[in-house]
C-alpha cells in the first residue's frame, strides 16, 4: 500500500492522523487554553462580583489585555518554585498523585463531540444532516459505552486526591484526602442516577448520538424534554459542582480554614492539582452541554457550506461550555461552604433519593407521556 493510499479516507493512517489533529485542537488548544483562561477568569470574575478590580497587571510591555497574561506569570512561578517532597513521604505515590488528579479530566474529554461532522471531500457544499458520504466525527473516541467511560475515568480522580493525602505523610492531608474520597464517591452516585434518567429517554449512552437526538433549537434540547429531564439536569449540576471539589463543596481542601489534601505539594505538582480542578470544571461542563443543552448543534447552520457549519458548531459548542464554566465560577463565589455532615446529608438523604425517584419518573414519562 503506497503512502497516499494509507492516508486516504477509511485507512488506518487517515484515522490516526485525524485523531491526532482532533486531540491537538480539542485537548491541547481548547481544553488547556480554557483551563489557563479559567485560572485568571476565576480571580477576575470573583473580583467583579465583589466590586474589586482583580488581577490586571501581567503586562507585556504596553499590552495589558485586562491582565489576561496572568496565567503565563502563574505558570512561570510554579515552574521555578521549589519542588518540595516531605522526608517521610512515599516518593512514588507522592509523584503519582498529581498525575492521577490531572489525567482523568483530560481522558474523559475523548468522548465529547465538539462539532458537526466534517464531510470529507464535500467540505465546500452544504450538506443536510444524514447526507454525508464520508463523515469525520469531531469526537476523539466514538464509544458505545460513552457516558460510562466518563464515569469510569472521572472516578479515577478520587485516587489522585486520596493518594495525595496519604502519600504526604501528614495527618491533616490524610484527613483532607479522606474527606475528598467520601465526598466524591457520594456524589458520583447521584451523578450516575441523573444520567440514567437521561439514558432512559435517549436509549443510548453514546454522546454523539445523544446530541443528534436533541434538535438544534433550544426547545428541542434534552433539558426541556420533560419534568424528569429538568430535574436530572439540576441533580447533575449539583453533583458536578461537588465532584469538582469547589465551594460550596470544598471541604476536601478548604482553602483558607481547614488543611486540604495537597498541603504538602508545591511548585508544578501543586499546579497540576490546580489545573486539574479547572479541567474538571471544563469536562463536567462539556458533558452537561452534550447531554442537556444540545451539544454543538446550532439552528439553521446546516444550510451553510460544510466547513462553515463545522466552524460555527465548534464555536457554539465552545461558547456553551464557556458559559457553563462562568456559571460554575458564579456558584463558587456566591455560596458559603457546607459542613461535612451537611454535605453527606444533602448527598445521601436528599439528592440520592430524589435522583432514584427521578429515574422512576423518567421511565414513567417515557412510557406514558411520550
Amino acid at each position: 500500500m503506497s503512502g497516499a493510499q494509507l492516508f486516504s479516507y477509511g485507512q488506518p493512517g487517515f484515522g490516526i492522523a485525524a485523531a491526532l489533529i482532533k486531540i491537538v485542537v480539542f485537548v491541547v488548544i481548547f481544553a488547556m487554553g480554557l483551563a489557563s483562561l479559567l485560572t485568571w477568569l476565576e480571580r477576575r470574575q470573583s473580583a467583579m462580583m465583589q466590586d474589586r478590580l482583580g488581577p490586571n497587571r501581567a503586562n507585556l510591555g504596553r499590552w495589558r489585555a485586562w491582565g489576561l497574561l496572568h496565567f503565563v506569570a502563574d505558570a512561570l512561578k510554579m515552574v521555578f518554585k521549589e519542588d518540595f517532597i516531605p522526608a517521610k513521604a512515599n516518593r512514588f505515590l507522592f509523584t503519582l498523585a498529581p498525575i492521577l488528579a490531572i489525567a482523568p479530566p483530560f481522558i474523559v474529554l475523548a468522548i465529547i463531540p465538539f462539532g458537526a461532522p466534517l464531510c470529507w471531500g464535500q467540505m465546500r457544499a452544504a450538506v443536510p444532516p444524514g447526507a454525508c458520504v464520508r463523515p469525520v466525527d469531531l469526537q476523539i473516541a466514538r464509544l458505545d459505552v460513552g457516558v460510562l467511560f466518563y464515569f469510569a475515568f472521572a472516578s479515577l480522580s478520587v485516587y489522585g486526591t486520596t493518594l495525595a493525602g496519604w502519600a504526604s505523610h501528614n495527618k491533616w492531608a490524610l484527613m483532607g484526602g479522606m474527606r475528598a474520597a467520601s465526598q466524591m464517591i457520594s456524589y458520583e452516585v447521584t451523578m450516575g442516577m441523573a444520567v440514567l434518567a437521561m439514558f432512559v429517554s435517549y436509549g443510548t449512552l453514546e454522546p454523539g448520538a445523544m446530541v443528534l437526538q436533541q434538535g438544534p433549537a433550544p426547545w428541542q434540547w434534552g433539558i426541556v424534554r420533560g419534568v424528569p429531564h429538568f430535574i436530572a439536569f439540576f441533580l447533575f449540576l449539583v453533583a458536578a459542582l461537588a465532584e469538582t471539589k469547589r465551594t460550596p463543596f470544598d471541604i476536601p481542601e478548604g482553602e483558607s480554614e481547614i488543611v486540604g489534601y495537597f498541603v504538602e505539594y508545591s511548585g508544578l505538582r501543586f499546579g497540576m492539582f490546580y489545573l486539574g480542578e479547572f479541567l474538571e470544571v471544563i469536562s463536567s461542563s462539556a458533558l452537561m452541554v452534550t447531554i442537556f443543552l444540545g451539544g454543538w448543534q446550532i439552528w439553521g447552520a446546516s444550510v451553510l457550506p460544510n466547513w462553515a457549519h463545522v466552524l460555527v458548531s465548534m464555536l457554539v459548542w465552545g461558547g456553551k461550555v464557556f458559559l457553563f464554566c462562568v456559571l460554575q465560577l458564579l456558584v463558587r463565589w456566591t455560596l458559603p461552604r457546607f459542613r461535612a455532615d451537611q454535605l453527606m446529608r444533602l448527598g445521601w438523604q436528599r439528592l440520592l433519593p430524589l435522583s432514584i425517584a427521578n429515574v422512576v419518573l423518567a421511565a414513567c414519562w417515557q412510557m406514558w407521556i411520550r
Partner: protein, 185 residues
C-alpha cells in the same frame, strides 16, 4: 435562677429548607454585580460601576487640603527665608527631629535666620505641631508628598536648601509687612 428555655417555632417549609430560592436570590445578587461592573473592562474608568478599587500608581485619591506631607520652608517677598530661628518648632516637636543653628542676618531689619535647618524625616511623626507652633508661617507641611524612601539614613535628613527648594513666597504678615490674617483679601 432557673433558666427558662423558650422554643422558637421556625415554620420552615421545604421551600426554605431546600435553600433553592435563597441560592437563586444569592446568584442573582452576585450576577447583578458582575453585570454592572463588567463594562469597566471595556470602557475603563468612564463606565459606571460599583468598583471601589483604585488602580493605584495611575489613579490616586486626591488628598484633603489639610493633609500633612513633607515639610517645606517658605520665603519672604524678596526671596529670603521667612524663618527667624526662634526655636518654637524644635521645642514643640515631640520627636525632636528638627535641629536649628541660628546666625545673624545680613538684613538689618531681621535679627536672626537659620544657618542650619535640618528635619530628620525618619524621626518625624507627621504630627504638624511645628506648623502650628511657627509664628511666621515659615514652616509648612502642605506639599502632599510622602517622605521618600531612601537607602541611607543620611538621605532622609532634609537640609535647609532642600526644604527651601519646595518653598514659595508667603504673603502672611511678618515684621509689620504683608497681609494681616484678619483682613479680608
Amino acid at each position: 435562677m432557673a433558666t427558662t428555655v423558650r422554643i422558637v417555632s421556625r415554620p420552615e417549609g421545604w421551600k426554605r429548607q431546600s435553600y433553592l430560592w435563597g441560592t437563586l436570590q444569592g446568584l442573582g445578587v452576585t450576577f447583578g454585580h458582575l453585570l454592572r461592573n463588567w463594562p469597566r473592562n471595556l470602557l475603563g474608568r468612564r463606565a459606571r460601576s460599583d468598583i471601589a478599587t483604585l488602580a493605584y500608581p495611575e489613579e490616586k485619591r486626591p488628598y484633603p487640603p489639610r493633609n500633612r506631607g513633607l515639610h517645606r520652608l517658605m520665603k519672604r517677598a524678596d526671596g529670603q527665608v521667612r524663618c527667624v530661628a526662634c526655636m518654637m518648632c524644635p521645642t514643640a516637636c515631640p520627636a525632636h527631629c528638627i535641629s536649628i543653628v541660628s546666625e545673624e542676618s545680613e538684613d538689618p531689619r531681621i535679627e536672626k535666620r537659620p544657618r542650619i535647618f535640618q528635619i530628620d524625616e525618619l524621626r518625624c511623626v507627621v504630627c504638624g505641631l511645628c506648623v502650628e507652633a511657627c509664628p511666621c508661617d515659615a514652616i509648612r507641611m502642605d506639599t502632599g508628598i510622602h517622605a521618600p524612601p531612601s537607602t541611607r539614613r543620611a538621605d532622609a535628613i532634609l537640609d535647609k536648601e532642600e526644604l527651601l527648594s519646595r518653598g514659595e513666597i508667603s504673603v502672611a504678615m511678618q515684621a509689620g509687612e504683608g497681609i494681616f490674617w484678619r483682613e479680608k483679601r
